[in-house]
């Protein structure tokens, strides 16, 4: 049971991370900085609860806001570059953030022990949940409430004009500009929203693992962040959730019985998935078929 709860927590947090990249990917930009924003949210929220004794919700919101502001600042110069240049530029920024935490020391005494981030040793003893008597189930529920709120918000945004504008920019920047869309505002907003969502994910992550260190927020995590929405397909937010369940639930956990063959199969299955479903697991055709199934059922109900 605990194992399953742990898996739901993991899936929840990774989906939030994937959704943060989803927003940016809609505008056609590939970013490897999401792990950096995730890390900012994690460290700041954890410091606020552990060192300053805040409640977790405001702490997470502040952490996420800082991540959003930093993402906004990164978004402006990043507008000047595209494609591979942007990939490497955001990689560099993500690594900068990771190395920043690697060098960051701020500890205070709390009773007998010292707490706080300690450079390369990481940030241990983030004990907000056990100290306040949250059970694993409570935490899992908390994560999923937040995840569902984010998914609903993004679903609504996707169907609103803002979603169409983001996609228009991703399709053709010049055409988007010439119908009056402000490219700078759109891209920077996407970056900021993505940074904010990643920050929320980081805040949760720090508290349920109780121990974070710089290595958690590496290029590998950033790669996963963009891999989820791409594998899921960029048609809507459910794709990202499906991709996380597919990767974390089925490939990573479900194949555990295969021992170390599991990781091997994991890479191979991603390659196969991209060959078989180049536009993602949930592509336009799936959306259309599901949509049709729902509308006919409604039709029958009406009749």
């Amino acid at each position: 049971m605990d194992f399953l709860l742990g898996l739901t927590q993991l899936i929840g947090v990774h989906t939030i991370l994937g959704l943060s990249a989803y927003v940016v990917l809609l505008t056609g930009q590939v970013t490897i900085a999401q792990a950096g924003f995730f890390g900012i949210g994690a460290y700041i929220a954890a410091m606020l609860t552990t060192l300053a004794g805040w409640h977790i919700v405001p702490a997470m919101l502040v952490g996420a806001s800082v991540a959003g502001v930093v993402a906004c600042i990164v978004g402006f110069p990043a507008l000047r570059v595209k494609g591979l240049m942007l990939v490497v530029a955001t990689t560099a920024f993500g690594e900068f953030v990771r190395l920043f935490w690697f060098n960051f020391d701020y500890q205070i005494a709390k009773g007998e022990i010292m707490v706080g981030p300690e450079g390369g040793e990481g940030f241990k003893q983030i004990r907000y949940f056990p100290e306040n008597g949250w059970t694993t189930g409570d935490v899992a529920l908390f994560i999923w409430v937040i995840l569902i709120a984010i998914m609903l918000a993004l679903w609504w945004m996707d169907r609103s004009r803002a979603g169409a504008v983001l996609r228009a920019v991703g399709e053709d920047e010049l055409a988007a500009q010439s119908v009056g869309i402000n490219l700078t505002a759109t891209k920077v907003t996407a970056f900021a929203v993505g940074g904010f969502i990643a920050g929320i994910g980081g805040g949760i992550y720090a508290h349920y693992t109780t121990h974070i260190e710089h290595a958690n927020f590496s290029v590998l995590l950033a790669t996963f962040a963009i891999a989820y929405p791409i594998l899921g397909g960029l048609t809507n937010v459910t794709g990202t959730l499906f991709a996380v369940v597919f990767i974390q639930g089925i490939l990573v956990e479900g194949l555990r019985f295969m021992g170390d063959w599991r990781n091997l199969l994991f890479g191979a299955l991603i390659v196969v998935a991209m060959n078989v479903r180049p536009r993602g697991l949930i592509d336009e055709r799936v959306v259309m078929i599901v949509g049709r199934a729902f509308s006919t059922r409604k039709g029958r109900a009406d009749a």
Partner: protein, 256 residues
């Protein structure tokens, strides 16, 4: 309405547009013609702010828009289409028109959040009206990339009209069309003119240009070599020399 004052654009040593001066009157359909590579498309891109100008000025109703970004020139009242159609292929026909509802009036009347999040009722009505106007009402939910060529041209034109522009720049709207479609385009352009929209038409298809325009300017190697009514242009020896290539002219004209 639109004034270009000694406008120039140099790409390295190439003078794509060279000291070009033009004045388009309100309500006109103004033709801009010239051989391939004479600087017509560059002129359109300069007016829209896609390329920075090398020297000279662009005025719209007396207001200087030389340094404006593309989305700012649209806000000033200039919309455009592209020579090689540039639709948002993964969006539906309806969405293509929806994202383009960035007209001046909408901006002033609606607050920012409402305009971006839901798009107001008037914007939706405007989309319906444009779908009707371009005969795309039954294709509203089709993805733009799945449309036939002629439909894509019509959608792009409707998208340009979405912002209710004062001035419409059309970059070879008839390219690749058959005679029947050109005729329909001719009608549509006149209807747009009747709505009070001024049009700058860059075109190769002579039937269309000579039939529909009120006034024509001819470019060659980035310079204006003639300007006048369609009849005057047809009789201008300098135009025939440059544009139609002297003796072989008639055949070249027939080939379009």
């Amino acid at each position: 309405m639109l004034e270009l004052k000694v406008l120039s654009k140099h790409f390295g040593g190439v003078r794509a547009v060279d000291d070009l001066s033009l004045a388009v009157e309100k309500g006109q359909i103004f033709g801009l013609i010239g051989p391939n590579g004479s600087g017509k498309s560059t002129t359109v891109n300069l007016i829209c702010g896609v390329f920075p100008v090398t020297s000279g000025r662009v005025l719209l109703d007396g207001k200087d828009i030389t340094r404006a970004q593309p989305h700012q020139t649209l806000a000033a009242g200039i919309a455009r289409t592209f020579q090689n159609i540039r639709l948002f292929g993964q969006l539906t026909v309806w969405q293509n028109l929806w994202v383009a509802q960035n007209g001046l009036e909408d901006r002033q009347r609606e607050n920012f959040l409402r305009r971006w999040m839901s798009g107001n009722r008037r914007a939706r009505e405007s989309v319906e009206e444009l779908l009707e106007f371009s005969g795309l009402a039954d294709k509203r939910d089709a993805l733009a990339r799945n449309l036939a060529f002629g439909e894509q041209r019509r959608l792009e034109l409707a998208r340009a009209l979405s912002a209710k522009p004062k001035l419409l720049l059309l970059d070879e709207p008839a390219a690749g069309m058959n005679l029947e479609e050109v005729g329909a385009l001719d009608d549509r352009l006149r209807k747009i003119q009747d709505r009070g929209v001024t049009i700058l038409l860059v075109e190769h298809v002579m039937d269309l240009v000579m039939g529909v325009t009120d006034r024509i300017a001819v470019l060659n190697f980035g310079k204006k070599i003639a300007e006048g009514t369609p009849a005057e242009i047809q009789d201008d020896p300098a135009v025939q020399e440059a544009y139609l290539g002297g003796a072989g002219g008639r055949r070249a004209a027939a080939a379009g």
